[in-house]
Symmetry: C2
Subunit: 427 residues, 2 copies
Amino acid sequence: MSQTIDPTVVEQVTALARRARTASRHLALMSRAEKDAALLLLADAVDAAATAVVEANAEDLERGRAAGMSASLQDRLRLDETRVAAVAQALRDVAALPDPVGEIVRGSTLANGLQIRQVRVPMGVIGMIYEARPNVTVDAAGLALKSGNAVLLRGGSAAASSNHALVTVLRESLAAQGLPADAITLLEEGGRDAARALMTARGHVDLVIPRGGADLIQTVVRESTVPVIETGVGVCHVYVDRAADLDKAQAVTVNAKTQRPSVCNAAESLLVHRDVAADFLPKVLTDLAGAGVRLHVAPEVTEYAEAAGAAYELASEEDFGTEWHGLELSVAVVDDVDEAMERIRKYGTGHTEAIVTEDRGAARRFTAEVDAAVVMVNASTRFTDGGEFGFGAEIGISTQKLHARGPMALPELTTTKWVVEGDGHTR
Amino acid sequence: MSQTIDPTVVEQVTALARRARTASRHLALMSRAEKDAALLLLADAVDAAATAVVEANAEDLERGRAAGMSASLQDRLRLDETRVAAVAQALRDVAALPDPVGEIVRGSTLANGLQIRQVRVPMGVIGMIYEARPNVTVDAAGLALKSGNAVLLRGGSAAASSNHALVTVLRESLAAQGLPADAITLLEEGGRDAARALMTARGHVDLVIPRGGADLIQTVVRESTVPVIETGVGVCHVYVDRAADLDKAQAVTVNAKTQRPSVCNAAESLLVHRDVAADFLPKVLTDLAGAGVRLHVAPEVTEYAEAAGAAYELASEEDFGTEWHGLELSVAVVDDVDEAMERIRKYGTGHTEAIVTEDRGAARRFTAEVDAAVVMVNASTRFTDGGEFGFGAEIGISTQKLHARGPMALPELTTTKWVVEGDGHTR
């Protein structure tokens, strides 16, 4: 059994979850038109409150700086007028997306005349546990509302003031619209116990989605009794095959590593077929070095790293399984596609794995045998993204196999219900 | 944290799971024709071993009788020649079902020319934890094989000899076919710790499915760190609306309760609208009493139960949330569809809920607002079944919202993978 959770906190969180459940019943019955209208008004409310939100955010930043928060974390936390406008716009973008609720996924009329149909319905109450990124607060609230769900938000304490300001605006707007404010609830009290109460609110919360680093996600998976969807940890590989077009390989590798190195779909490890290593490595390592990428290399790659003028070190075993979150990359040479796939099995996290090859057979084997949410052929790992896939906004990239795998957009925030209509049918 | 699990058992189970993982890679690449041929040979092998299986089963029955096992549990455990033939036939039936693996669920060509497609792929390794029903052993093995998954089976100890005999036959047949025997593995040692090692074999096992009573399922949900699909607990209601056709209501109620009372989709509670109680209750309670149903009634139903000559008692609060697994039924009168739905929220388990009504509005509200895997209008709850829905065999009825809800057939034993093909695409 888990360590004891403060029973007062459990009671508070349960009470909030109950109110969210009541609100969710209202949301579940709203039409698309009603939900879209609500989202547009929420967006206007966020825009109107921009000054107050930026002020609240300044308090968070001030505390962060005093506590020695890193520059990159401060950047994730920061909201200026432009970013607040982008947060509001995200709500309008969600309003423009199709409503998944009510979609008939499949159905038939049985031989006995029974009509069965599987209909998409909201989950009910969704819990989000995330770090100090206040834009996630509004994104999650918008996606939850559009998919007919109430949401319980547990954001990082470093963003407490920003989240409080944003959720206050959203709740006041809901109330002014005659909608239940409890559809969007921020868990502000109870410290870590509030997060743990959320994870164990079985029956009150239908789904918990953690968004953040590997530690956060592992904690949520271990401690939750509510179903969890794991998101986002990505140790993504680029494998450059013997039959690769080396120009494409160069472009894909550099893009996958450097276009936005802090995110989960950036590449963390480069695997190069032995037969093309001497041709490919000098060029790609020179470009990577030029982009400021620090290399963690297998022994046989050191001479290339040295020649390319790269900052490098000999890779430890652990380095090959590391998500760098920055301009670092592990590099190894492999004998064939089997060794590449073996390394991916060993070090990968089932997020995105890419092969660069012109060989149909190699591509076919790689796509069939690599066990990951997304397998790329001749394309950058950076394409694993709800927006890039054409789904509009997403709530994260699922790296697990149950329910959803890959970018989680609106339909993945719903479940289904079978509706069966008869005329007094008995067995 | 959970109580400590014997580390030797953890090691044993992990080793078996690793071998299952290796086998699963082979299964994942098999064509439908290869899998169907294998299933037919497995069926022949079970038929050929019928005498040995029945003898092994006799040992289990002997131990069961000595331990005072109830007659109904003995019946579930029993395998005679006819039942072994049915078990073999079930494998042939699975061979005849379509293969879910490789189905392209959706896909598109993006504006930039990237081709994305979402393809159904096997889960990998599935763990089954179940009670003393040896037919489940073969059913689960067959469904897992057809969906390209390896399976780790943890059956009830009361069926140990039967399961050993059946799994030995299946593994020997696989090996004789040149297929990996580790695709079907029985966890025979380690006692309860083996089940707990299975539930916590995160990374080695992709999914655990418990099949059995409420206690078993709750234990698995609480102790698992591997994703779980809850199946089967059903406190199903039949609500007879004011606008019900009382003949249909009579047929549906009696069928839902008595056609096979021990299973999860049997009705456990009858709710009758106040306006039709005086007309409906005398008739239906007389029929139910005639079928030997014992009633647990709300105070205002006692006079009807008495007049119908039924065996009855005053229902406790707990009775209304009880899955009887037999010829018992709770009965209450409600003021309207809202009170019926309120009771279903309070006492239901999200399995199957039925309304009997000729009123479109009431049916529409009930199907929209009741939160269950299956909602029936004018049809018996007994129709919630993979076979009845036209899916062929099923592995259970999911009562949770994630991944699968309702009858779980072959597609629900798969996950998906996104395959993205480009030509050197970068962001």
